[in-house]
Symmetry: D2
Subunit: 131 residues, 4 copies
């Protein structure tokens, strides 16, 4: 699979729950962290976006849980992004490295608030793949 | 709104993030906790299900984030459940109590593994509303 | 045992880890949440302390882990507070309700920063027991 | 400073709280994760210790919070270990990389339970520095 951005991580024991596998909500953390690292890598001045009245907000999320991660597993979170109207849609996979198994597929819809209202912010176009 | 099961909670400061509102993944924790409290209230012998080879597993999740919860907010997580084939589908709302605003809507698909294979487990029928 | 303030809670499954018991760092969350609920109950205008240049900061922490909490356990977190110079020292116990067993003892030292410097803030005296 | 074992990490946004800095309990997670990575690197068959009736348990913890970590900060968690009777004592520092500032100092006392009773387990001696 080809991703526009990738981040490698390793499961920490405290992220696992009673069943001995990574807790479902932690996968949401992994996808959020990967999106933020992607934003940091692309977006100049991301740190003061909020001061300038611009906020990126998750509006919607879909996740499919296909296989679990276990303590110590290494994985990558791969990300692709596309634009639909005012929405930025992130397609992300969590892939276990030892067998390249896709453990989780997530689709996250992010919108941009400009001074509290749904809007567009030109600099975010830097997120999109060049055609 | 009418729910089949409800649980009241209050936002803890440590569940909020940089933006001063509850972190998105925490809402997934809230819905998971509510489902588990519901299961505990209905299902005799839930604690040793796993020993008897029966596991309930989240296969799929959809969440819509409509409004944020803030530090100290009281809320309820309401739950309805229906069966589609071998799937148990939980529809859950997170409702801010002070203004009855629905903050999050979540639909979670749970399946039952019997000795590791997709199956059915009669006792789970106790989860469903009586007709 | 007599406490100056108490908060009752119940273990949530997602707070437990691989060993089937509450993860050690979660007890720190419980004590923090209890201190904050205590502050909210005593301190008028706590929400805008930060805007007025006043921050309360944890400087030091000691915890003894004596017995574990399990999924679904109900417990209380009891709190006493005393002042030593500019330090507010919170002694907190986490007590399992079913057998009144003390599971965790924690001592947390909190100081007050006024405009970023160690200082005192008169309104915090409202935290202390009346003699 | 010289450490017996070191692990590098980077702050994730979701680990930060309302105050815009890493939440205090997360530092406990960082120290736990570092100890576990250290154990994994030294201890053959660590994964089935529990099945063989051997558990390592945190009995006591002391932390000093000296400076905060911010979103995106890179840091290392350095670890030294010594034995006192049946106790393994881990001294850990969390060091911000950009300015080598020690943000947190933690001392964690770990004991070994053999079939549920305080005991010793020879293989754990592999944890200690060779003299």
């Amino acid at each position: 699979m080809d991703y526009f951005f990738e981040l490698r991580m390793k499961v920490r024991d405290y992220e696992c729950d009673l069943q001995g596998i990574v807790n479902n909500a932690i996968y949401q953390h992994y996808t959020e962290h990967t999106r933020n690292e992607f934003l940091r890598s692309r977006l100049e001045g991301m740190e003061d976006l909020h001061e300038r009245g611009i906020d990126t907000v998750v509006a919607r999320l879909e996740m499919q849980f296909k296989a679990p991660l276990h303590p110590g597993d290494e994985f990558l979170c791969g990300l692709n992004v596309r634009k639909e109207g005012l929405k930025y849609i992130f397609d992300q996979d969590i892939v276990r490295l030892k067998d390249e198994k896709i453990c989780v597929k997530a689709t996250t819809t992010v919108v941009c608030l400009v001074n509290g209202r749904l809007g567009d912010y030109e600099a975010l176009h830097a997120l999109l793949p060049k055609e």
